[in-house]
């Protein structure tokens, strides 16, 4: 089952998972590549290619079993086992991540937050202890975690990454607006560059009229978008 799944497919996997969960919640047992494609604003062909690339088995003339496919994708994403996280930086971003309930449902649990500000350290935020960043290594020795969330100024992110690798952290969810330098074999990193995302929106807004819809698109009423 662990074939080589392409980068493009992996980025779509959480979307599939989300839509399959919605279908399951609605009591829908079965779905075709056409229906799923419609929901996700993708071609049925792409859906079938994607699902086949990790061997989820549909049935001809029927489609895919919603629960089976969801479970399969969940297991590829490694969501069946819980993940323990810490958050570095108890500012607004760090706090928002700590409070964001959707993760918890999927088994992501925050053990502690770390900050340099002595007015914050020693207190609780939403039942999560805020500790001094000086205690990071000691804490990780006692409570190993998988994931560290970097929610601190860009100027400190690289240094913190190195401390975290040294303490055996496996994965970094980076909110700092920098491109970290690291060894792919030593750690996994995913960036959430909020400013970058907002700037792309600024571009799109300014250049919306540029995209002249082809007469074909207009003719067959195809204004809907891939979200």
């Amino acid at each position: 089952m662990t074939e080589h799944i392409s980068e493009a497919v992996i980025r779509r996997l959480p979307g599939y998972y989300r839509h399959l969960r919605e279908l399951e919640d609605q009591g829908i047992k079965q779905v075709s590549s056409h229906e799923l494609g419609e929901r996700m604003h993708q071609t049925p062909s792409l859906i079938r290619q994607d699902i086949n690339s990790f061997g989820g088995f549909g049935r001809q003339g029927y489609g895919y079993d919603v629960s089976e496919l969801k479970t399969c994708i969940g297991s590829i994403l490694n969501l069946q086992q819980p993940h323990r996280m810490i958050i570095i930086g108890a500012g607004s971003i760090g706090s928002a991540v700590a409070k964001y309930q959707s993760f918890i449902r999927e088994g992501f649990q925050t053990l502690a937050m770390f900050d340099i500000n002595p007015e914050k350290t020693g207190t609780l935020f939403d039942e999560i202890p805020i500790l001094s960043i000086d205690d990071l290594e000691l804490f990780l020795q006692l409570h190993p975690v998988d994931i560290a969330v970097l929610a601190l100024p860009g100027s400190e992110a690289q240094m913190m990454l190195e401390r975290l690798i040294a303490s055996g952290v496996q994965a970094i969810w980076n909110f700092a607006p920098v491109d970290l330098v690291y060894d792919e074999q030593a750690i996994s990193v995913v960036n959430v560059h909020l400013s970058d995302s907002l700037q792309v929106l600024s571009y799109k807004m300014a250049h919306r009229e540029d995209v002249i819809p082809s007469s074909e698109d207009q003719a067959n009423g195809k204004p809907e978008n891939r979200g």
Copy 2:
């Protein structure tokens, strides 16, 4: 200057902008595609292709003028003119966006937040008024904005999108975990699907060992990553 810039290039534009600003802050006046590629973990060839696709003119034997290139990219991203925003949802994500200072520096200004909770409405958050969602249309009549940030439950996002379009909002920065349905001609949308991003990290972490580095990569010491 407004050629057709490909989707892939646009996604990289904010990264270029960020690195060029850093170089400028360091007093560096000039940069080659090789140096910029090194910083951004991209090939020099890609850098040149990208920059050429919008006609930024380098000089042979010299490279690119940092300030000139930064200004050019900033103007493509439409960052020279200020943007007015509102935030729908005064929960943890909405509050984090309101406080995130990096936007403000680039001219993104939050005029108001909206919420349904009567305990929040009528108060100020960090000098930003929190208004009742019932007053949305009236507010937008008096204070037109470009961008609305959707930081509310997924179940309400689609309905809110339609209200916002009706009130003339041009762009949506969507933090709700849903794929919105909309007409590309009517509005621009960029998603920040935090759960999706975290799930991709979960995948990467679980499958890190899968990626066997080719002997070539090991030989020429190429462990660094594209961030």
